[in-house]
Amino acid sequence: MTRNKRVTLRAAGMLGASSIAAALAAGSFAWAQDQGPIKIGVIAEAQAVGSSIPLAAQLAADEINANGGVDGRKIEIVSYDNHSSSAESVRAFQRLVNEDHVDVVMASYITEVVLALEPWSARLKTVLVTPAAASDAVTANIAKDYERNKYTFQGYVISSALSQLVCDAAKDMLVDGLKMKTAVIMSEDAAWTTPLDAGYAECLPKIGLNVLDHIRFSPDTTDFTPIFNRIEGERPDVIITGLSHVGLQPTVQWKSQQVPIPMFGVSGQANNSTFWKDTNGAADGVLYQAVSGPDVAVTPKTLPFVEAFQKRFGNALSWCGYTAYDDVYVIADAIHRAGSTDSDKLVAALEKTDYVGTIGRIQFLPQGDPHVHGLKTGAGFITGLLLQWQNGKQINLWPPDLAKGKLTFPPFVKIGAAGN
């Protein structure tokens, strides 16, 4: 069943890939030659998860340039650090558009930042693609006032969809696999988790996980003892997580307090290859959702990208990297099809995107959809993965056909013991 989906997707992948490669090589439009390079601005958090974004973008740009660029035009990446601050991002955005005259901007994994930039992309009529911000708020704004905000695209799975992907995996692994019945939702209080939690609350019961409690904590929480104690008191089978800004500290304290309940769900920082070291191995047994992972061939492009990235930048690839890499290709493809870098033409072209990248088949939801310009997810598009940290390695466990190992837990986790 699932297997078949894969096959078709793979096929599509081949197809998409080849067609673009051909197109890029062709460089058919004569008038494009005499124009300068295509400039893509990148705003990211140099000191956090976002650090992979500019690197991956650069990698993609270099590959495209190596193949003759887009219709003969080279792609140039201009990137700035935003110190994770909205204000700095706004300044950087202005700098990119007014000073560096970039054609497109890719920005940040922090929804807060993207929300601050969205109005500016509208005001300055510049296409903004976020490779990693997840909140539905971004697309909701576009839906609210399409004409004004249509210049923003969300190159990452929106939160509500994320929750669905987590539920899909939970159904197979926890409910069917481990016969779990109850769960507690634990999320950081941030823009992107609001829709995520809503999604959890809706889909978990559907798959047979009864939600006992729903805890949102402020992102600057340092002491998780009270939270874990409260959860333990409620004796759920699993903790469903919504973590991104924090992640390290709850994980470390989960281990040091030996909370007997597994953690399962979104945990942004767990994607980092350095997560094991940062947590002194407390990560062992942590289960997290991702759209791609090391040595998991989601599509034929995944592994080559990971290799290329690690060869060039060493071992610092975070989840944003995959999407950032794909988005550069998506943009290049759109510019090629639009035959111009004019924002409105570009928007039109992007909306017609059908491209298979490292995380799956990328299409943007059409106008009229409540999540217009968000990524299509689910069967045939992006299904996501479910990985687990197992003695120092990120092992993919779901979907089965991409599974690289078995579900195991550190001794202090007592499956089923908590409940019934």
């Binding site: 140099a46 700035y80 601050s85 909205s86 204000a87 706004v90 700098r95 601050a116 109005p119 402020s218």
Partner: protein
């Protein structure tokens, strides 16, 4: 009278500078303008702070309490009812003044570090409130306001410049006026000032109100320039630190120096952006050097050079 004011060096020098600055849009890029726009607003923050510290001798660690009140009040109002922008801005300034009084009345009873901490606590409280009252304020996410004054860099720039000039004129004039004299006297020696028949609390409170007014006004205007308000931009202690450092490295008790310092700080931070993470490190390093080597601040350096020659 007026002639004497106009002939006073700081006045005509700054007039020349302002005139020169107002012509910038003709030959520098929109980006530089955008940067200076923010810098000018920070200039106002620092000047307002300097009035309080430099003259009333009260160390206010919480300039962002006043700024934040102004910014968020204006932003929230616009978000909820979209009245004309100037109404929001006025409301912001008003909120800042009210908050300022509420803070000053108890705080002015305290001395030295206690006053400082009280103002610091005020900031932390406001921060907590913004985060907790997320539906209203946008919480950690920050608040995106539908309207901006203008998206034209030049217009925004001129507004900011004009506003800074206006504030500078008022605050500087105030500091040189009789009231300024009284403030300094009360700041320097409470007993003597009292013996001269001045009601210190009254004057310090007034200073606080003026300071609050301009901080709030600037905050509100800045919201409608950025089109967004977030804790990190308006309230966070680090923002307040920038304001204070701006005033100190510019030269305390000079008002104008504060503006120079703030603009210097922002400009440096931006000029060094390509250095990425190191930018802040270097800027703070420079500031620290100024504090250690030239206690008089940048303006003090200039004065020193003039007197030396």
């Amino acid at each position: 009278m007026l002639r004497r004011i106009l002939l006073f060096p700081p006045v005509w020098i700054s007039l020349i500078v302002v005139v020169a600055a107002s012509t910038l849009p003709l030959y520098v890029s929109g980006y530089i303008l955008g940067l200076l726009t923010i810098a000018y607003y920070f200039g106002v923050f620092s000047m307002a702070w300097d009035l309080l510290f430099g003259f009333a001798n009260e160390v206010n660690f919480g300039p962002t309490f006043l700024i934040g009140l102004g910014a968020y009040t204006a932003g929230i109002l616009d978000n909820l009812y979209q009245p004309p922008i100037f109404v929001c801005v006025a409301a912001g300034a008003f909120a800042a003044v009210t908050g300022g009084v509420a803070l000053a009345l108890p705080a002015l009873r305290m001395r030295g570090p206690y006053f400082g901490l009280m103002t610091l606590v005020a900031v932390l409280m406001l921060q907590n409130f913004v985060v907790v009252a997320a539906e209203l304020t946008g919480g950690e996410i920050g608040l995106t306001v539908p309207d901006v004054i203008s998206i034209d860099d030049k217009v925004n720039y001129w507004i900011a410049l004009g506003f800074m000039t206006f504030s500078g004129a008022v605050l500087y004039g105030l500091s040189r006026s009789p009231v300024g004299l009284i403030l300094q006297a009360s700041g320097q020696d409470a007993v003597q000032a009292g013996a001269l028949g001045f009601n210190l609390t009254k004057h310090k409170l007034a200073a606080f109100i003026v300071s609050a007014f301009f901080s709030g006004l600037a905050g509100a205007l800045m919201v409608f320039y950025l089109g967004a308000a977030s804790v990190g931009t308006f309230i966070d202690v680090t923002v307040g630190v920038q304001v204070i450092i701006g005033a100190v490295i510019g030269g305390r008790r000079t008002i104008l120096g504060a503006a120079i310092g703030a603009v210097f700080l922002i400009a440096m931070g931006e000029a060094l952006r390509p250095l990425g993470d190191l930018a802040t490190f270097i800027v703070s390093g420079m500031a620290l050097f100024v504090v250690l080597a030239f206690p008089g601040g940048l303006l003090g350096m200039v004065k020193g050079a003039r007197e030396a020659t």
